[in-house]
Amino acid sequence: MSSKLYSKIVSHKYHETIYRKAWEEIRYKAETGKYIVRGFGYAGKLPDFDDLILIPTHGLGTSPPVDQYRETVDTSVVIGKGRVKRPLVLRTPVIIAAMSYGATSREFKLACAKAANMLGTASNTGEGGMVIDKEPDGTIRWTEYEHAKPNGYLFVQFASGRWGVSVDYLLHSDAIEIKYGQGAKPGFGGHLLGEKVMSNIAYIRGIPEGTDCLSPARHLDIRSIDDLKKVIKILRDITNYEKPIGIKLGPGRTYKEVYTAAQLDIDFIAIDGKYGGTGASPQHAIQNLGTPTIACITAALKALKRAGVYGQVALIAMGGFRDGGDVAKALALGANAVAMASSIEIAAGCMLCGQCSTGRCPSGICTQDPELRARIGGGKGIEVAARWIANYIKVVTKEVAQLAAACGHRSIKEFEREDLRALTIEASTIAGVKLIGLEDYVNPSSY
């Protein structure tokens, strides 16, 4: 005890305990009596696309690589083909995922729709209704939808709060996504803090200004599969069987839930993995609930195949996509398209400052403050933000095409699991991919 080193040693050991990292959070909860609500997504490392690698071909008993500089790779994706009157014909497998107007700004939503038009892909309203404007005579202009035209598409969400959902909203859309959950907070419904419910958001959502906006954890009018079947049929009727209708799930009990959904009359299933983001979520949900994206895709694929609808019902993967490598790997795992949100925000100027839930976003994205909103596109406006998003998706699409070419594919639809190897035993088992070097499945029953 007499040595001066004693306190140093003890202090170091204390700092290496698991409580050191938790200290601030414990004190915050103790001092405020509150839990932590924050934006963005899971912090930490889950088994993910970095644990998988694509393996190219050389044409020796394998298909020859496509010359990526001279030859073309088809990057198109069709959703609802042969099922609805107006299927979506996307020029890229990258879709802009659901982010609500309310969580994000009008300028950002319009930049997303505009980028979708520039690229021939789709954007998604999210669960807060659509950005609309009123003419002096009271006529409504469906501004967000108009921004996606003529080359882009707009998904509209039909979520448990039904904010802004009307017949005219459903008719000014190209596809309907029935939201059941999201990656950051599966099982929690939706949250928009009152600070962000300014006059226009209150108007769109039909709620008083400053109200905390809560989407219930479940659809209050869908209490059984039978109710869901009825709702889908009614949405088909209202939209005259023209538009794809699908279900978005958070990362829950993916196999069982996708298997159940696959037996309904739907055209796509979107599944958001654990890296999926949020404008505001309780942190304990972000960190503790869900399934990694690579596991979601594998489980969903198994379920679609068992239901006999793989290839008919499109699988859209979400949660943690950053580049063409991630996208190509998801396609190889069996997804038909991917949807991105966090990366789109970063493309539009997000600096990862962590202010999403407070509405003080310095980049004009996750805010309703007019001064902050004016900072969209680096202060240069919607056009610039749209160009950044479009540039980014264009590059990602190019990356996917080049990786497909190296794997010997002339179309991204040719991606297959054999294009992949797992770098870790965990990823091999979770994703059902052969382990690199071993050239076999670690657990043959995993896929």
Partner: protein, 228 residues
């Protein structure tokens, strides 16, 4: 008037016939609809009368946002019988009248218009109600007004458990007794203006009731959630 026998038709057939007739200025009567759901869903205008009982999701999403904001009239749907679950779910405008009873979730999510049930209603009346007016001439079940953010629920009879549970805005008027109030609620005496509003509203639908008996349930806090 077009008379539709719904017994062998599905929802899309029926609603297509209804819309076609209304576009020609005709009124519509539907018969044998007790097994059919979604009748008149998404209807923007016109008059539909349903003879006998009807299934779930009748008049879902009727009226349009634009119409409501311009103050234009919406569709009118009358049910001369009982209605199933989720009557006028998500409605924006118009009027839905049920002569008999209604099931779970009357006026759930509804933004506007009026829903009048002359009999009693099940659980979940006006959950996440946003702006519609719901009148139940009889009793209601449990958790009426859950998460409501606007609109009025007028209950002439008795209410079940957790009336107005976690309501955020809006008003519930109850003429009879309730089993229990929900979280974040407070009982008040309606003002004279409110009593006058209720008197006029009920007389429009020939409902005789002493409005002096109404009690009003309103939210305790307008920010009841998050880290409570």
């Amino acid at each position: 008037m077009l008379v539709i026998d719904a017994s062998s038709l599905d929802v899309h057939d029926i609603n297509t016939k209804i819309k076609n007739a209304i576009s020609k200025g005709m009124k519509v009567k539907v018969r044998n609809a007790d097994r059919v759901y979604g009748i008149a869903a998404g209807l923007a205008q016109g008059e539909v009368e349903i003879d006998g009982d009807v299934g779930d999701f009748v008049a879902m999403l009727i009226g349009t946002r634009e119409q409501k904001e311009k103050g234009e009239p919406g569709p009118r749907i009358t049910i001369n019988g009982n209605a199933g679950n989720y009557l006028a779910d998500g409605a924006w405008n118009g009027e839905v009248v049920v002569k008999g009873n209604a099931g779970f979730g009357v006026g759930i999510y509804a933004y506007g218009g009026r829903i009048i049930v002359y009999g009693s209603a099940g659980d979940g009346v006006g959950q996440v109600l946003k702006g519609a007016t719901i009148i139940i001439n009889g009793d209601v079940g449990d958790e009426a007004g859950l998460y409501m953010v606007g609109g009025d629920i007028v209950i002439i009879g008795n209410a079940g458990k957790l009336l107005g549970n976690w309501m955020i805005r809006g008003r519930i008027f109850v003429g009879g007794e309730y089993e229990s109030l929900g979280n974040n609620t407070r009982e008040e005496i309606p003002s004279s203006d409110e009593r006058e509003y209720l008197r006029k509203l009920l007389s429009k639908y020939d409902i005789a009731f002493n409005v002096g008996k109404f009690r009003k349930i309103v939210p305790l806090s307008v920010r009841p959630f998050y880290s409570r």
